[in-house]
């Protein structure tokens, strides 16, 4: 009989303790961020989709070596380049040199797993993560990024 | 109260009495429709639903018969207990949910109608033919009166009913628990 009542009593006591905790929490400030009204700043290392890095002249640093393409596990990077001849002054004489110039750098963000292998494998520091996270669309095509185009738009 | 007094003048539709009459007619229809569903529906669950509708109507009848207490007990016991028990039994005992329960045989339908019609006709005719003589009331039949009567005049019956209920509960448990051992 004693156990019967003590169990009821202990049960009620535990319930009261629980209610006390939620009561205290009731008066604590709200911790959530109302997303569209407020936004958070992404941390410096935030890994968004990749973006081409430009040099001082506003041209992509990329030399189209294709390391990122090879390193990518999901094959979401496709790039193309063409060889252009250009002239440099070297020791007083003009020489024609060949250089690969990036003509296309597409990122298929739908398959990207944001692992960072491409950035890690780039020996030239030509790609970096963007801090963009407001990416929502109902169309698949919106996630096929033309990074060269984006670079141009950023510069203009 | 003498019924003939009330019958002498007809109330207007929009007075309190008239509204009461309208509601009564609605409840009357409810009772009859519920009864028809209860005895005629092919699915048993619908029959129970009809029974509930019918009992709600019957409760309203009781209310009009000056005994709200019995009306509420009707709802509480029939709707809240008996009908739920029946519905439970249907769930437990008829796995073929969609099986239609038609009439028992080719003749049973007409036979049923004839029997039921004869009985109804007989009872109705008897009711209409007989002159019921109202007697002077000795009390108002309030809840208080019922309580006093139950515990004085009918106390023995009251106790017996309690025993019957107890026995039926135990009996029901014993019968229904057969075949399932824990």
């Amino acid at each position: 009989m004693g156990a019967y009542f003590s169990e009821i009593f202990r049960g009620l006591q535990s319930l009261a303790i629980g209610m006390g905790i939620t009561f205290r929490e009731f008066f604590k400030p709200v911790v959530t961020v109302s997303y569209p009204m407020e936004t958070l700043k992404m941390s410096a290392r935030y890994r968004g989709h990749i973006e081409l890095v430009e040099d001082e002249k506003g041209q992509p640093k990329c030399v189209a070596c294709g390391m990122c393409q090879r390193a990518c596990p999901s094959g979401c990077i496709s790039l193309a380049s063409e060889s252009v001849e250009y002239e440099v002054e070297e020791k007083g004489e003009t020489k024609t040199k060949k250089k690969k110039v990036l003509t296309k750098y597409n990122l298929n963000f739908t398959t990207c797993s944001l692992c960072g292998q491409c950035v890690e494998n780039c020996s030239f520091g030509a790609i970096d993560f963007s801090k963009e996270y407001n990416l929502a669309s109902s169309r698949k095509e919106d996630f096929h990024f033309d990074l060269l185009q984006r670079l141009k738009e950023r510069n203009s | 109260m003498n019924p003939t007094v009330a019958l002498s003048q007809a109330p207007g539709l929009l007075t309190a009495d008239g509204l009461a009459g309208v509601v009564f007619l609605i409840m009357l229809a409810t009772t009859i429709i519920g009864g028809i569903i209860a005895c005629n529906a092919e699915r048993l669950v619908r029959a129970v639903a009809g029974l509930i509708v019918c009992f709600i109507g019957v409760a309203a009848m009781y209310y009009y018969l000056n005994s709200p207490f019995v009306a509420m007990m009707q709802m509480l016991i029939y709707v809240g207990a008996v009908c739920i028990t029946i519905a439970f039994a249907i769930m437990l005992a008829s796995p073929e949910e969609n099986k239609k329960h038609g009439p028992a045989g080719p003749l049973s339908g007409p036979l049923g109608i004839v029997t039921a019609g004869l009985v109804t006709f007989g009872m109705g005719a008897m009711a209409l033919k007989t002159d019921f003589i109202p007697m002077p009331k000795i009390n108002m039949g309030t809840v208080e009166n019922i309580g006093v009567e139950l515990l004085t005049t009918y106390s023995m019956v009251f106790e017996l009913v309690s025993i019957v209920l107890l026995i039926s509960i135990i009996g029901a448990l014993v019968i229904a628990r057969q075949g399932r051992s824990k």
Binding site: - | T31, M123, S168, I169
Partner: protein, 108 residues
């Protein structure tokens, strides 16, 4: 006599009770399952109760008697429902059916 004063007329209730009784009889005759028959018998009990209540209201000198009797009917009906349904379930466990036609096996 207006249609709106029907609720003050004994005959209304008696006819309703007769109708419900008839429905109950019809159900008892035509239903094939135990539960269906139980439902029909509830209708018959309701008809009887209405009669009690009607006479109680219009003719009986002591208007508590009918009410008390109706209450007893309710109690008995509840008991009957409980017992009837437990029997139904027991029958179902043994026969896998509550159809009255299937319950012809006397050996149990």
């Amino acid at each position: 006599m207006s249609i709106l004063t029907l609720h003050n007329n004994l005959n209304t209730y008696l006819l309703l009770a007769a109708l419900l009784f008839g429905m109950g009889i019809y159900g008892l005759v035509t239903r094939r399952t135990l539960i269906g028959m139980l439902i029909s018998s509830e209708l018959i009990l309701a008809a009887a109760s209405i009669n009690f209540m009607a006479f109680n209201r219009f003719t009986a000198p002591d208007p508590t008697v009918g009410q008390i009797f109706t209450l007893f009917i309710m109690a008995i009906a509840a008991a009957e429902a409980a017992i009837g349904l437990s029997i139904t379930i027991a029958v179902y466990r043994n026969y896998k059916s509550v159809d009255t036609e299937d319950l012809v096996d006397l050996k149990g």
